[in-house]
Subunit: 350 residues, 2 copies
DNA sequence: CTGAAAGCGCTTACAG
DNA sequence: CTGAAAGCGCTTACAG
């Protein structure tokens, strides 16, 4: 007889479903059913199987189950950059729902590298992942179109976006209304008497930033301030906030308020203001975005827009689970954001 | 004939090794070998197989391979709390090495919950993970002892610790010398003329905090300041830094310097000082730990201790890979930290 | 309600 | 260098 058995590392080799069947005096089929569809097994048998499982210390081999069922019970959370604390609470929300449903989450950090994103998408076709929650629009769009093409219809492709989105590809989306959030921030600044209000955006072309930018322009327009539009571009980081902050502020006609598309950029702007001896909120008001933990601890504490991050994560995972069960899904779920007023904003001086 | 085939979701079903074999005119065994051990296949055959792979668009089904090889090519990175940015660069380092070797990383966020830690450990026995890099000592020790018991010897258990460690369980460890780092920070504060130096630790009993505490005491002792010992306990968070900062500073005999076991706590202390109108560094010096991105952008910029986080992640993964190959591994790798002097520390006033 | 048997997609010891 | 065949640990349609 051939011996092709892979030698196990453990000396007392891990118990399999066969061992349980032997101990319970039934077939492996019955053990499998007792686990997967207990209602199809008689009470007595189910009882014996459960005892046998406890006795031999059995845990199912998930790789085998996944192979047989052609699924992986794994969901990829695709992020632009894991070091941004904005994402951690979203992932917590996703995990709550996922674990409950027997799924695990694989965090895919793209690090702004298309090759990484592609590698994570490939997990779908090799059955290593069942679905993706996409938290970045910074990936090659061809990935989605290819994937989409394979599916029967749009609705069947197990991909859900959260927070970010594409302007030209319609996918199920869970996000706040970025345009409205932006309007609210600018309205507030105008109500404080500000007229020269600049905005510091994320990467050019990022759809959520374009939405926020639109809200910024629209609101200035409403207030007859459209000629005051002043836009700088950052990348959400401390560093870009600092650099662009210097550029905006080191200037006689400098703005009296800056609306930033991330809290980290706002904190960078605070540093730029300090360096130029511009007081906040005395001479400059600063608004951030996201309400990360830091925003309560920087100086001054940051006025910012809060997104329901945990809920976004939960809903995103929920929608993906629906998709995986072949159910229809709401194409667009808009959760509400709100402005949190702290100490980095004040009435315009002079 | 029975039909037990699971219906695939994709209409044109995913090509398997059989399709490649057919297209190349050889057996599946040969295709498999051309992939796994190309040197065992003739040049001509290898060429035909590669063409066939490209032609049918084949990608191996990893679940099947893993089942057969009894491995998962997955490493769990077990963290206390994913929202702490300290870990992100360590994970980057791990990923670099892991991906190169064909492994993927599953981030396990324990959220200070022992049940979560246990669930991640269980992945080892169900062949869903091949090894663990443990970045927290906040897990039930029984998990490790159980696991350890199963292995032939200590050295064979695929577990490596990074940064954190246990006082009473000897596992391969990649970390800085926390005692020495602490001595360096305190020495520096003493050299600035400080005598009343407090320390704000992480959770009581955490071995790395005990090491740092020992360094603190030893250095005060050397300088004849042992009667000045003043210890407060936090949990690494902004919030605990703020609260304990208030407690330490709202006091006539307050310290002139505080050495914190994390940057986030140091930033919390900065806020407490502001609230009490205590100037930093004029009336109070503050030192953090870890050199996270924020430490350059808070006000004042933080003097802190930098750990080579990327390198720690790389070495940890490297060691784990050695272990998985059955090779011996260095039990203790100490990487060097260094003190970064910024603006939150100064000569003692008055 | 239960069992025998096929099959998921690979890998590998054996025989040639 | 190559192929036939067994087997990894499950699940499930079929037959009873």
């Amino acid at each position: 007889m051939l011996n092709t058995q892979v030698t196990s590392k453990q000396s007392p080799s891990v118990p399999t479903i066969k061992d349980v069947a032997k101990a319970a005096g039934c077939s492996t089929a019955t053990v499998s059913r007792a686990l997967a569809t207990p209602e199809k097994v008689s009470d007595a048998t189910r009882e014996r199987v459960n005892q046998a499982i406890a006795q031999v210390g059995y845990a199912p081999n998930i790789a085998a189950r996944n192979l047989r069922r052609a699924e992986s019970k794994t969901i990829v959370a695709l992020l632009p950059d894991i070091s941004n604390p904005f994402f951690s609470e979203i992932i917590s929300g996703m995990e709550d729902v996922a674990h409950q449903a027997g799924y695990q989450i694989l965090i895919g950090d793209c690090e702004h590298d298309p090759a990484r994103a592609e590698a994570y998408f490939r997990l779908l076709s090799t059955n290593q992942a069942d679905g993706i929650v996409l938290l970045t629009s910074e990936i090659p769009k061809t990935l989605i179109k290819q994937a989409d093409g394979q599916a029967d219809g749009q609705a069947d492709f197990p991909l859900v976006m959260a927070c970010e989105f594409f302007s030209d590809i319609d996918l199920p989306l869970i996000a706040i209304d970025n345009h409205q959030a932006s309007c609210q921030a600018i309205d507030y600044l105008v109500s404080l008497g500000h007229q020269r209000i600049a905005t510091l955006t994320g990467p050019a072309g990022n759809p959520i930033c374009l939405e926020r930018l639109r809200g910024y322009r629209d609101t200035l327009s409403v207030h007859g301030l459209i000629d005051q539009v002043c836009v700088a571009e950052g990348d959400f980081s401390f560093r870009s906030g600092f650099q662009q902050g210097l550029a905006l502020l080191d200037n006689a006609q400098r703005p009296t308020a800056i609306f930033c598309h991330s809290d980290e950029m706002a904190v960078g702007v605070l540093k730029a203001a300090r360096q130029l001896d511009i007081t906040v909120p005395g001479q400059l008001s600063v608004v951030g975005f996201d309400n990360i933990g830091l925003s309560e601890y920087c100086d001054p504490e940051l006025t910012t827009i809060s997104q329901p991050r945990n809920e976004i994560g939960q809903q995103a995972m929920q929608s993906l689970l629906h998709l995986l069960r072949g159910e229809r899904v709401i194409r667009r779920q808009t959760l509400s954001s709100h402005l949190i007023v702290r100490k980095s904003t004040g009435r315009v001086s002079g």
